[in-house]
């Protein structure tokens, strides 16, 4: 490997991430199709309305299972620290590329960590409410009051998740060198030093 590159994600991590990502895109498209009439045409991508209704929950299960696999691997790196609170307070510096003024980040910065937990909570909510409203298998077993709460919560958590993913995708485009980490698995030493100095020290054995 090029000595200027260091490994950030193993092959298995990357495949896992992209399986979740593909499932998410399919779920967002099929879910939004049933959420707002102006997007109903998206059901055509899935073979029509009934097929969209049939496929959506199965893709959802798939995403949940693979998200859990990903989360089990990464949750430890996403525990918030005191430095992270300071990072969040300086969100203005973050947004204006003044990264040198920010406290040092570990493997993940505070923004990534918050997003991780938001996603985790949304995934659990989506799974639970999704099972409740799953036609024709489970929905008939629940009371109509529970169905109503579940449809609203499902839509709400999906909204938060989609919003989170918009931020996630944009951050990857904005911070150059990030997409490569998830595509090829590697980042440059400069990238690691600038964005994740704490992590860089760890993996490079104290090298600066």
């Amino acid at each position: 490997m090029n000595p200027d590159l260091i490994e950030r994600y193993k092959t298995a991590d990357r495949i896992n991430h992209w399986l979740v990502a593909i499932a998410f895109v399919l779920l967002a498209l099929s879910g939004l199709a049933l959420f707002h009439p102006s997007l109903f045409w998206l059901t055509n991508l899935f073979g029509g309305g009934p097929w969209t209704r049939i496929l959506h929950p199965f893709i959802g299960l798939f995403m949940f299972v693979f998200f859990v696999a990903l989360a089990l691997r990464f949750w430890r790196h996403n525990l918030l620290t005191a430095a992270d609170k300071q990072w969040l307070k300086q969100i203005d510096d973050v947004l204006n590329n003044r990264e040198d003024k920010l406290p040092e980040s570990g493997r993940y910065n505070a923004g990534q960590k918050v997003l991780f937990w938001v996603m985790a909570v949304c995934m659990v909510l989506l799974l639970l409410t999704g099972i409740v409203i799953w036609q024709p298998y489970f929905a008939p077993a629940f009371t109509v009051t529970l169905l109503r709460i579940a449809v609203l919560l499902h839509a709400l958590s999906a909204f938060v998740l989609i919003l989170g993913i918009i931020v996630h995708i944009y951050a990857a485009i904005w911070v150059k060198g990030t997409v490569g980490a998830m595509m090829r698995g590697t980042v440059t030493r400069t990238w690691a030093r600038r964005h994740h100095a704490g992590w860089y020290r760890e993996v490079s054995g104290g090298r600066r």
Binding site: L34, P37, P50, N97, E99, A139, V144, I173, T190
Partner: protein, 292 residues
């Protein structure tokens, strides 16, 4: 049911006006519970006209048969033994779609044209457009739509929209032997009900009244109740409304959520335009150059 209708007032999941040049008079079915003898002729007529046969079920020791509404039983006599004024009364209510002026099922439905409301007030399911999601179930304040296990489509009383469109009354009305079910212009039905209510009051039912709940904008199936102050005696909700949860979900939340997602995308793009990329490599060059 008919694919071409020019008198549609509302169409599910449709944001532009549906074909509605033809205005028809508002109709209503009036069910006078004080005249009902529980013969179930209306159930038979409904099966007969709509060519539906429910499965033979099991008795539970009382008169309701079948046990509940289903995709094959669009109307059902429900029997209540109650003592609202000290003595036993056997209240028999013909249950089925109320054809709300403000239909929760239509509001909740995500599939364009799966539920329509004609200008005469009839709310009809067009099963060929139904995707089987069950959202209509959450929207209905009267627990009416049933999803078929056979084809995953939602079914309910059509108020015999096919008969009404050619000037006939619904099958249940035609068959009712006591005249407990009548059908006509909604105004006329209200007049008719008033005469009935007066009669009932004279006979000791001081609380007799019309059930035409305004919480759902009024209904196109109305009841004359002996005890209109206690609709719960008949298994009817006192003040039915489309659940606020459903109104929020398929009301304001819908456009606002979409708007905010759009703002997030455009906002991200503009952020890039404003501050530009966050590049590590550029920094490196600067740093190596600076000390020199």
């Amino acid at each position: 049911m008919a694919l071409q209708s020019l008198d549609i007032k509302q169409r599910s999941a449709t944001t532009t006006p549906p074909p509605g040049v033809r205005e028809t008079a508002k109709v209503a079915k009036l069910i006078d519970i004080s005249k009902c003898i529980g013969c179930k002729a209306c159930q038979s007529a409904c099966m007969e006209w709509n060519d539906l046969r429910d499965q033979i079920g099991e008795t539970r020791g009382y008169y309701d048969n079948p046990r509940d509404l289903s995709e094959n039983s669009w109307t059902l006599m429900r029997f209540y033994e109650v003592e609202p004024q000290g003595s036993l009364e056997w209240l028999i209510r013909k249950d089925g779609c109320m054809h709300c002026a403000d239909p929760g099922c239509l509001k909740a439905c995500p599939s364009p044209g799966a539920i329509v409301q004609y200008s005469n007030g009839i709310v009809d399911f067009h099963e060929e457009n139904c995707i089987g999601c069950g959202y209509c179930v959450t929207g209905c304040p009267f627990n009416i739509p049933r999803i078929s296990k056979k084809d995953s489509k939602a079914y309910k009383c059509t108020l015999c929209s096919d008969r009404v469109s050619v000037g006939l009354e619904p099958a249940c009305v035609k068959t009712c032997p006591t005249g407990a079910i009548v059908f006509g212009a909604k105004e006329d039905m209200i007049d008719h009900a008033e005469a009935r209510i007066e009669d009932l009051k004279e006979r000791g039912y001081q609380n007799a009244g019309l059930y035409d709940p305004q919480g759902v904008g009024g209904t196109h199936v109305m009841y004359v109740l002996q005890h209109a102050d206690k609709p719960e005696l008949y298994g009817l909700p006192k003040d039915p409304k489309v659940s606020p949860v459903v109104s929020l979900w398929k009301g304001v939340a819908k456009p606002i959520a979409l708007l905010l997602l759009g703002v997030a995308v455009i906002g991200s793009f503009l952020h890039y335009v404003k501050v530009g990329p966050n590049e590590a490599e550029g920094e490196q060059e600067k740093k190596t150059k600076e000390p020199a």
